[in-house]
Symmetry: C2
Subunit: 226 residues, 2 copies
DNA sequence: CGACTGGTTGACGAGGGTCAAGGACCGTGG
DNA sequence: CCACGGTCCTTGACCCTCGTCAACCAGTCG
């Protein structure tokens, strides 16, 4: 996808109609560089593994999953990105992960090369370095989770992460289905469902619905995440 | 460890005597910044999780493991670093991982702040951004391994990675014990040992000794790594 | 030679995957 | 208004991979 015109790509299954696209460059104050606002429909692909990487994306609204696939279909989600997060930068102009919109997503797309060459953008390089280092640290934390924690600890850690990142306190709205949570935590969706039930039976959370979780005992939840 | 004088810290167990330390700053061509050569003995700590992060390290010789620990002792090694690699950079002046010398290690230590403030070092920031992005990519690949691959696939991937990184072709010298390989691959040392045996029985590798591996069939090995 | 670290192998069990069935919730259309 | 299809979620039964525990072996250094 070299020319960003993604909302046309509603290939996968039948999709709710994508919001209209406005491909006119706008001047965003952020990096003294023009950005293009883009809209993506639920489950549509923002970029895929192996594609040429021309743009950096900043989320305006919605949630994005970044993942890698094995040839036989096994999938590992390496991160969920929320509004304000940036993603899509690569060293060598090739995407080594793919990114998809979990629900309807609005992003700002920045042209990668113009950002780096732009002389007034040394602040941008520092910002990018910071964000990349933070991303590296979160990914290292996730390695510990995948390599050494059991299913219950993983789900507890996930819920804590989501509570913290969404800035909510007790009530938590999950943007993603069980299957995505499973692929993020290195589990199956059945195990994720069972661990939800276990936390519920222990009186630590309350399931208003599958996507709407209330944390009843944050202390205990944090203790379970080890 | 704010003042680098590490070879004195031979705390853990009885250690082979550390090579002498030469703490005089030298001018290395690399980043137009002075570096301090340091030596670390086998199993000695270069820095620990939670410590203040003042230096960036570049390996001259030896192998370093970077890891995170759970309170109950479970450990995840997030990376092995070989000569030429850099490690130790953090966003917020606090180390979120620990680093230890696997065998005797020589590094060059660069003062972190002086590198970033130095006006002539914008090249350094770009280099650091590149290295961090590469590190992030490798860590994402490792997430896929830990989250979705089985024991045999993990060991095969590890051997391929080591062959590639050491630049060797058939013969591979492993710097680390089974326990470290296990903590890198999210397995136990027994399982690692069994997978070595399995690859050996399949005629894919030959174990000259525990640390000396010959790859007999690279094709098959790559096929096993999925 | 003895102590120590590191590695291999076996027996057994548990945690989580697989397979299967059914329930809850939603928007659409008759 | 309700039936219908689709997506998502839950729960149960069974099984397999890998962890645990234990014994033993190999190499090395004093």
């Amino acid at each position: 996808m070299l020319t960003p015109n993604p909302a046309v790509e509603l290939s996968q299954t039948q999709m709710p109609p994508a919001p209209p696209v406005f491909p006119q460059p706008r001047d965003e104050g952020d990096f003294h560089t023009s950005s293009v606002p883009l809209n993506f429909a639920r489950n549509s692909e923002i970029f895929a593994e192996g594609e040429s990487a021309g743009y950096v994306y900043k989320i305006v609204s919605g949630v994005v999953r970044v993942s890698k696939l094995l040839p036989d279909g096994r999938r590992q989600i390496s991160a969920f990105h929320l509004p304000g997060d940036m993603f899509g930068f690569e060293v060598d102009d090739v995407h080594h992960v793919s990114a998809e919109a979990i629900g309807p997503v609005k992003v700002l797309a920045y042209k990668w090369q113009s950002l780096l060459s732009n002389t007034s953008s040394s602040g941008f390089v520092h910002e990018l370095l910071n964000r990349t280092m933070i991303g590296l640290r979160q990914t290292q934390d996730h390695l510990l989770l995948l390599g050494r924690k059991n299913a219950l600890e993983r789900l507890a850690a996930f819920l804590i992460e989501m509570v913290r990142r969404t800035g909510s306190d007790r009530s938590l709205q999950l943007a993603m289905p069980r299957h995505d949570i499973a692929d993020y935590l290195g589990l199956t969706l059945e195990t994720v469902s069972r661990m939800f039930a276990e936390l519920k039976d222990a009186g630590i959370i309350k399931l208003e619905s599958a996507r709407q979780v209330s944390v009843l005992d944050m202390q205990k939840l944090e203790a379970m995440a080890t």
